[in-house]
Amino acid sequence: MKYTEGPEIRDTKAPEGPIEERWEKRKFGAKLVNPANKRKLNVIVVGTGLAGGSAAATLGELGYNVKSFCYQDSPRRAHSIAAQGGINAAKNYRGDGDSIYRLFYDTVKGGDFRARESNVYRLAQVSVNIIDQAVAQGVPFAREYGGLLDTRSFGGAQVSRTFYARGQTGQQLLLGAYQALERQVAAGTVEMHTRHEMLDLIVSDGRARGVIVRDMVTGEIERHLADAVVLATGGYGNVFFLSTNAKGCNTTAIWRAHERGAYFANPCYTQIHPTCIPVSGEYQSKLTLMSESLRNDGRVWVPLRKNDERAPGDIPEDERDYYLERIYPSFGNLVPRDIASRAAKNVCDEGRGVGPGGLGVYLDFRDAINRLGRDAVEKKYGNLFEMYERITGENPYDVPMRIYPAVHYTMGGLWVDYDLQSTIPGLFVIGEANFSDHGANRLGASALMQGLADGYFVLPTTIGDYLANGPYGDVDEEAVAEAEIKVRNKIDRLLSVNGTRTPDSFHRELGKLMWDYCGMERTEESLRKALERIPELREEFWQNVKVSGTAEELNQVLEKAGRVADFFDLAELMCLDALVRTESCGGHFRAESQDADGEALRDDENFAHVSAWEHSTDGPVLHKEALEYEYVKMTQRSYK
């Protein structure tokens, strides 16, 4: 795939000066909108997860006129609901040496020096307010007997800064945001549109001014106009077909905004989560994650010998390899996700994996049960154990769980500046849909933090600054009509192929290709192969896909087909991005770039930048944004 290089991105709008003062400075510098004018200003928010739900609620509360969209039947279903482990905040309630600076430091380091310092510092600052906000909403976080909030430690951190609500933290935080959102719906400041899917962005006079959506029940194509558009549509891990994402998660909204001019940054940064239930068969539709908090007490091991067929209980202690504890003595089972995932892959590649196909490692609670008692373990992890048993039919109290890495979270996304604004003025992107805060790796319990930070605290300030500079005039009727026609044409085209393969069969094949060639380990050769194969498969898709039904009804096959079509285009850009980045960093492991111990080897001289891709009919254009580290010295990460 051919690409060219365009001018560097120089201004990210982050204020200058001491890092701890930058956000204050930006907030003070942001223009305010007169309360009487707010209700005349319309904002569209697409997506109702932690980022979108909290943003729509807060903007409504501030007095803007908000339209909120989600593809599910209720905003409460967004996939943030499935996050299990917890949310980080620099509260230092434990007195164990935590601070905003330490959370900032850990996140920049954990992001393998590929995130922006200014953004990450702000995230750490705001994290403190998130907990206060959620508690005030009635989120039932775990408590100590004294009535104060309980915390736990989580992968990649040595302090106990993770707040949690049993194994269902995402659910409880999302319900908090959802309730705040429904409160605004009742107050009339937010108009909710469920079962609607965004299919294009309306750009008029160079500004984002609305969206084209499809009513998924009637099939009606609708146009909605606004003064600004916020995308909070989540990640694109489902490009791999099998992932821990909900089935409906897709890339369509951000991809079509990309086609309209929003840069796509670091698409190749894919987080592989180390503790998922292994794949059991070809029919499988998704992967289920086991919370990383299990690594606090569970010990990860494989047999020392290759192809050891014995039951785990029959393998004596001296024939077990607790490889994380062996290789990383100071972090042990709590090493960050990218490290734990690759270590699991390595032992399985050596032929020491367990379970069907040898693609699994044990996560063993025997010692924890002996030490703490079965009851204590059940209290802490009961619902997770139950979930595991339900899916696998095995009882983890008696036999160790089997886990294997799986695609979980995408750190890439639409490029945004410090204000969370994309390269299209008036288009803001928040949560997992943007690229900004996690660098090449996301530490556990930090995605919930970012979603809520963006939605409750950052966006409501920065979007005000944009709106205060308005009004931006009438929307160009031709631009709206053009977008609508484009959407209709795409739907007609999908319905008219009438081939012999289902959208799912293409998606499955694309996903396998991506996992094999652009998965946990990438090489120049594998990526070149993928870049050769993806266009062929896409061509076949457009020649041979079969979409049943019509456009004017609830048609889940049509929905699926549209999303798969976008995944093809995204997959190609992901592979190109991975090919161009000839270094290893965090979730992007290029096999050619590793040190003598097999650890990811960064190339700071050539790659300390964000890769922001511009869409063009002549092939993608690469813009680089240099990353500067004034506060955290760039060092090789080591968890040994």
Binding site: T58, E61, D73, S74, P75, R77, A78, H79, I81, A82, K91, N129, D132, Q133, A134, A136, G138, P140, F141, R143, E144, Y145, G146, G147, A165, R166, Q168, Q171, Q172, Q179, A180, E182, R183, V185, A186, M192, T194, A246, K247, S280, G281, Y283, S285, T288, L289, M387, R390, G393, Y456, F457, P460, T500, T502, D504, K546, S548, E553, L554, Q556, V557
Partner: protein, 246 residues
């Protein structure tokens, strides 16, 4: 495994609907119930038939989007399980399985097994929240909560809003759903100021949506995938009575 499915087909709200029989072959016992339907749907698409529409999303038992009545039981016979977490190993080879949508007047059928549960959102809109603007909250430690209260509040808060309680109730009551939310917030200090007005508004909205009354049958809690206890309904009724006595 080979199965015979009897599935409710209804093209839209105005269609009368009917049961249609399908054969599914080579079902693996490790498949989830929804994956089994995926396999059938793939076949239907290729044969030029309309695949069966059903709601689903996270497929890990937490989003609450999936739900169907399987052999007469909401989410199937396995206790405390969502449809997406129900696996085929619980069925016998050669079994005949009947699959229907949630049936309740306030949940109109959209298509096949998909129903409209937006009435639940409107119950929440009526008062299922704590009124707190973003950015104005005091430090989280300024209001301690007894661990027992926090744990009980959490137990009630685990409701996923799937609607199985309504589907199972002979009266089509939404009491368990509404009670779960009311109980969650009424057990926490943060929920106290609006406690009675919340209970009144939510119960009144539930009635206005056309859900039936509760006669303590207990079918709701028997099928609830999250095991929300029946005594939340007692809590709701108590708050509702107090609110009306005022």
């Amino acid at each position: 495994m080979n199965l015979t499915l009897r599935v409710w087909r209804q093209s839209g709200p105005s269609d009368k609907g009917r049961m249609v029989t399908y054969k599914v072959e080579d079902v693996s016992p490790d498949m989830s119930f929804l994956e089994m339907l995926d396999v059938l749907n793939e076949k239907l698409i290729l044969e030029g038939d309309d695949p069966i529409a059903f709601d689903h999303d996270c497929r890990e038992g937490i989003c609450g989007m999936c739900g169907m009545v399987i052999n007469g039981v909401a989410h199937g016979e396995q206790r405390a399980t969502t449809t997406c977490q129900l696996h085929m190993r619980h069925f016998e080879d050669g079994a005949e399985i009947t699959i229907e949508p949630w049936r309740a007047a306030p949940f109109p059928v959209v298509k096949d097994l998909v129903v409209d549960r937006s009435a639940f959102d409107r119950i929440i809109q009526a008062g299922g929240f704590v009124s707190v603007p973003a950015g104005s909250a005091p430090d989280a430690h300024s209001v301690p909560v007894r661990k027992e209260d926090a744990d009980s509040a959490f137990d009630a808060a685990t409701c996923i809003g799937c609607g199985a309680c309504v589907a199972a109730c002979p009266n089509g009551s939404a009491s368990l759903f509404t009670a779960a939310k009311i109980t969650h917030l009424s057990l926490l200090p943060q929920g106290q100021p609006e406690r009675l007005s919340r209970a009144k508004a939510m119960v009144d909205q539930m009635d206005a949506e056309g859900f039936g009354g509760c006669t303590n049958t207990g079918e709701c809690t028997a099928v609830c995938p999250k095991g929300i206890p029946l005594d939340t309904i007692a809590q709701m009724n108590s708050d509702y009575l107090k609110a009306n006595a005022k």
